[in-house]
């Protein structure tokens, strides 16, 4: 009887490990494949083996030195846009979520529902209008335009999650501080901000990643090549060459993914806290 139970347990664990290994391979394989392809000599998508016979850095060099791909410039542009829109966007999101979580005022629930509904509107629908609006203010082909638009859109995506998180910070802390004479603003900076670090990390990261991957809106706004972001550049590369220079695409893909993956790695713990705390409150 006892032996039978042990055997069943053994089989169960064995099967689980087999499934886990298979899943892990499926999860890692595409990433590994593109990483190795970026070191492969030649241009073609087809390769006899997964691990290339020779390794070369030529594709990376080409991205940074060739006059067609200004990857260095694009990289700097993207970094600039990402950092600024992240900073402004985080501030705006925190302002809205703090106000909605801590204060009771007329039309508060309406505001929350409105935010939710507006976030559901398909983005492209507003692209033409925003394009014309930016044209009115002579902001086309500038990075400022992208920063403004990304930052202004931030509260739509993040507020409700952030509010869910802020709701979990006990209000007795606020009250204690108020008795000690802190103002609304003081409570915000000295109590709410330090306690919502996982939330801020989560929102900041999603905002930071946005400009790295947005190729549609950025392509519409940024017309000259020197002003492009990496996403626009990559999309252009994919579209103009189809599959004719796959290894170069692979190198570009690695260059975009690596910084973001490193950030994810460092912030994993905080990120998971932010995601689950905001979500489990609905």
């Amino acid at each position: 009887m006892i032996i039978g139970r042990k055997a069943v347990n053994f089989i169960r664990l064995g099967l689980s490990y087999i499934v886990l290994v298979a899943l892990a391979i499926a999860a890692i394989y595409p990433a590994l494949w593109i990483l190795l392809a970026s070191f492969r000599p030649g241009k073609s998508l087809y390769s006899k083996t997964l691990i290339p016979e020779q390794f070369t850095l030529a594709h990376y060099k080409e991205l940074f030195t060739s006059p067609v791909y200004m990857f260095g410039t694009w990289y700097a542009n993207t970094l600039k846009i990402a950092v600024f829109s992240m900073l402004i966007g985080v501030v705006l999101t925190l302002l809205t979520s703090y106000a909605l979580s801590r204060f009771r005022f007329k039309s508060r629930k309406t505001t929350m529902s409105t935010l939710l509904i507006l976030g559901m509107f398909p983005g492209f629908m507003s692209m033409i209008a925003i394009y014309l609006l930016l044209k009115e203010f002579n902001l086309l082909d500038t990075h400022l335009a992208l920063i403004i638009v990304y930052a202004a859109g931030a509260p739509l995506g993040g507020t409700l999650i952030a509010k869910g998180f802020l709701d979990t910070i006990p209000r007795s802390l606020d009250e204690a501080a108020r008795i000690d004479g802190a103002s609304n603003f003081g409570i915000f900076t000295r109590i709410i901000l330090p306690l919502s670090r996982p939330m801020i990390t989560y929102i900041a990261l999603t905002l930071f990643v946005g400009p790295w991957v947005d190729f549609i809106f950025a392509k519409l706004i940024l017309r000259t090549k020197e002003n492009w972001t990496v996403a626009v550049g990559m999309w252009d590369m994919v579209n103009t060459m189809q599959n004719s220079n796959f290894t170069l695409f692979a190198a570009g893909a690695v260059l975009i993914s690596v910084p973001i993956m490193i950030l994810f790695g460092f912030l994993q713990r905080l990120l998971v806290d932010g995601l689950t705390a905001g979500a489990s409150k609905g």
């Binding site: 886990l20 087809y46 705006l92 398909p122 209008a129 893909a253």
Partner: protein, 437 residues
């Protein structure tokens, strides 16, 4: 008994700020006067044109005219630019009316206070009052402005477009004018055979896609989470790390990468199938297999998020529930069915529904992977895997059928928003938010 409140109110209605000055609040009064002065200058030159533009959408298209015997292009009215300029002016006008109303109410209120013998606030006191009691509203002002101009204004604009005939080839400014046509676009979309066939076809696939992709990622994520969480599995942290990797790669990159991986001719997947002597499959070029591929790839992208979420929930399930079940002699399967599953479903239901709504609008997954292809000959500008969103994208940016795209956008919006609103209003964070303290 002085009639301060009526006097102050009327003065403010005549010219903003006068009432405040009457109430001896000079700084506030001057600020209101400055606002009205700027507004007057702006509206005198723009408001009339805005009303004209809104009703007519421009009257003269650009045309050739003979000037001293030489034909010259005379620029006419650009209907769409006129529409958006008018819209912006009218929005400013509405904002102005709100400020005007607030200014009257403020003068009236302070007048009333004075009648009761309380002196009006000094400027410093007013600022304090706002910081203490109107804090939330002033906090919301800045994000609110951003949302008004970059979200609400575009939405109104697009809704308006649906009621015009702004479409290629006959009504594209500046060469031609655009006109209001009422509900004709909607009628064409829903009733006219050429459009309605595409619309219902794409709508059906959109719903199938949303249901399948949500279910597969959710239950896939649950399965993986349970697998890792089993008693006796070692290196839990390592497995989790490995399986999160797809989540950390930017979607744009991973989907473009998948497109190459599933390439029918040279892609590695078909190459490996070849090793086993199997024929490769037309992953992205056959209507049926393309649908399978997008769902499989979406699982790859979406399972890690669900896994993280459900692992978070699993840690919150109280131990003693399982112990109680064990005392009653429950098997592993029964424990899962009676304790684990209901707990997970209960706390992730809102997220699940949001994911469903998100999948209806999942542009990236389709556009980057298949681009909506393979082409479907029976459809108007849509392919076999096109969702409503990607079809809409093609209609605006490739085909310039803007009015049709707007009509589709509105319908899509009503579906998704209705759904999410219904869901959100039932969640804890909306209804019982004051419970947690």
């Amino acid at each position: 008994m002085q009639r301060h409140k009526a006097k102050a109110g009327i003065l403010s209605a005549i010219f903003m700020g006068l009432g405040q000055i009457y109430n001896r609040q000079f700084i506030k009064g001057l600020m209101f006067i400055a606002v009205e002065a700027v507004a007057l200058i702006y509206f005198i030159s723009n408001l009339g044109r805005a009303f004209w533009g809104m009703t007519t959408l421009g009257e003269s298209p650009s045309r050739l005219e003979k000037v001293k015997g030489i034909a010259k292009m005379v620029p006419g009215d650009h209907s769409i630019v006129i529409l958006i300029e008018s819209l912006i002016t009218l929005l400013f006008f509405v904002l102005f009316l709100i400020v005007w109303y607030m200014n009257i109410r403020d003068a009236y209120k302070i007048g009333a206070e004075r009648e009761n013998g309380r002196p009006s606030h000094t400027f410093k006191q007013s600022v304090r009052y706002i910081l203490d009691y109107k804090f939330a509203q002033s906090f919301l002002l800045l994000p609110g402005m951003g949302i008004l101009f970059f979200t609400i204004m575009p939405i109104i604009f697009m809704i308006m477009l649906a009621f015009t005939n702004y479409a290629a080839p006959n009504h594209i400014p500046p060469a031609k004018l655009v006109d209001w046509v009422g509900f004709e676009t909607f009628r064409n979309l829903l009733v006219l055979k050429t459009w309605s066939h595409t619309f219902y076809g794409v709508l059906t696939w959109t719903i199938i896609w949303a249901v399948l992709s949500t279910i597969t990622t959710y239950f896939g994520g649950m399965l993986v989470a349970l697998l890792i969480n089993q008693k006796g599995i070692r290196f839990k942290g390592m497995w989790r790390m490995l399986l999160i990797i797809p989540y950390a790669i930017p979607q744009m990159i991973s989907l473009l990468l998948m497109r190459n991986l599933f390439n029918g001719q040279f892609g590695p997947i078909n190459q490996y199938l070849g090793f086993f002597g199997l024929d490769g499959l037309p992953w992205l070029t056959d209507p049926f297999w393309a649908k399978v591929t997008v769902i499989v790839v979406n699982m790859w992208v979406g399972i890690p998020v669900s896994m993280l979420l459900i692992m978070g929930v699993l840690t919150t399930i109280p131990r003693d529930m399982y112990e109680a079940a064990e005392v009653d002699g429950a098997t592993n399967y029964q424990k899962f069915r009676i304790v684990t599953l209901p707990m997970i479903l209960f706390s992730t239901a809102p997220t699940l529904i949001m994911q469903f709504a998100g999948n209806i609008n999942n542009f990236n997954a389709i556009f980057l992977l298949t681009g909506g292809n393979p082409v479907n000959g029976n459809y108007q500008y849509a392919g076999s895997t096109d969702l409503l969103v990607t079809w809409l994208y093609k209609l605006t940016l490739d085909q310039n059928k803007n009015n049709m795209a707007s009509a589709i956008g509105i319908i899509l919006f009503i579906i998704v928003a209705g759904f999410s609103l219904y869901n959100y209003r039932r969640t804890k964070s909306f209804q019982e938010e004051d419970m947690i303290q």
